[in-house]
Symmetry: C2
Amino acid sequence: VLGGDSRAVARAISLVEDGSEALEEISANIMAGTGKALSIGLTGAPGVGKSTLAARLVAHLRSDGDRVGVLAIDPTSPFTGGALLGDRVRMQEHATDPGVFIRSMATRGHLGGMALAAPEAVRILDAAGYDVVIVETVGVGQSEVEVASQADSTVVVVAPGWGDAIQVAKAGILEVADVFVVNKSDKDDADRTVKDLRSMLEMDSQDDPPPIVQTTAVEGGGIVELWNAIFERHVRQRESGELAERRRSRLIREVESLAAEKYRMRAVAALDAEGQIAEDLVAGRIDPYRAAGLLSHMIGSGTG
Amino acid sequence: VLGGDSRAVARAISLVEDGSEALEEISANIMAGTGKALSIGLTGAPGVGKSTLAARLVAHLRSDGDRVGVLAIDPTSPFTGGALLGDRVRMQEHATDPGVFIRSMATRGHLGGMALAAPEAVRILDAAGYDVVIVETVGVGQSEVEVASQADSTVVVVAPGWGDAIQVAKAGILEVADVFVVNKSDKDDADRTVKDLRSMLEMDSQDDPPPIVQTTAVEGGGIVELWNAIFERHVRQRESGELAERRRSRLIREVESLAAEKYRMRAVAALDAEGQIAEDLVAGRIDPYRAAGLLSHMIGSGTG
């Protein structure tokens, strides 16, 4: 992985998907080589053109000489065949480029699901020398927002006429967006969508509200402007110390979640081993807090 | 709460929202009184008419003499003013009925968020003697699906012309739905939506595929059919033992999550107390697995 071998990277990411025990060793060995890549979370409702936009961004970055990794993630559903095939089709022009690594990711066993698997996969690409890692998620639910907001820079894509301004607000995404993209901006109601977004951002009254960039990804319009908006904000956040602070709190939260998930596995095993707790719980003789307390005592005293 | 006093119920649910420590005692005292209510999760995209449908269901249940609790939950967003006000307006006819308890719920501090808070609130209403508890969630993201699928019966509402069939598949909701509702069935493309849903359910090939009921909630059409569909499936699941199995695994998962969240809080405190772990992590000297292992050791040996 550290040598940038794309087959080694692919195998390592498969281990992340599986939640393999080999991950602990890989993670320990690559950690010191991470921290150089700029990670970009790309999220938005299905159909807004995220994949086309990602392909255009990749082309732009390649013309600058950057190596790019792309992870396509759908954390919510096993029904991803269509979306991810779509990604691959649109990404095809980059499939044979050794400077681009493209991968659709699912979790098949990683403890903690995609929220913990995605940052590990990003670190693998980072350690392998990819300059930019794009994490594309499907949908705007809480899990997608969580995954996308683990990146250094979160780009939220909307398209005119999807009622997207409201969806964005509903998903709690205003708070995590670094850059908004209104794609399909050749459509009639694009200006209206920009206006809606702007007034929502004003209501939210952040210190440094995210810029709104208009693109027509199919024709390649606005891609340079989009990259510039992402990069300018990134530089500003790096210089202000916000990037370092974000990466720090992200890592700490990740460790807390990892510790909690490992503990959950011990709790599952302890509940299995001591069937009486489950029986008492189901019969209503003890409540969930008491059951959790009993489990914690069992695990703590080493009998679990 | 056990006496069915609605002010006591309201106060107890506020404690759930706050994640108050008093919960442990309340939870212990009401547990034996739970298990009688039928809980119904009602989910679907904003605008499909869930609230109107819920109000109609309440009216129908009241005409049968049942006491009904309604919890309106938006787990993903602080931007809920509009939606929840909507609920209240549509629910107004029931607001003065002592046999109906209506409450919009948010989490202000409950550990584990709505996924753990919602089942506690349902148990409070159950113990207070409400025969049916409707949990209405906003949206079809993973969190909403999680909350809605914790009910005994999960009802998924779609409306024609929203591209909802695909949204439903994306949200992984096929697997958790007990009954599908196509609301606004007076619209032209309602039949098309029913057809789309049916073919998706056929692809999914479940043993006992969920029925699809067509309603026009504003006019009150199809509500009796909907209730009959919910209740028939509930009876079937009760007789086959599936309901008991579901409730059992739900409680066990809840305890596991509760134990893991309590542990997460200890991990957060341990990371704070032992600053060196965070420093080493952020500097890349140790990786997240090693950090989680060190934390686990600290907490286990009682130094955390």
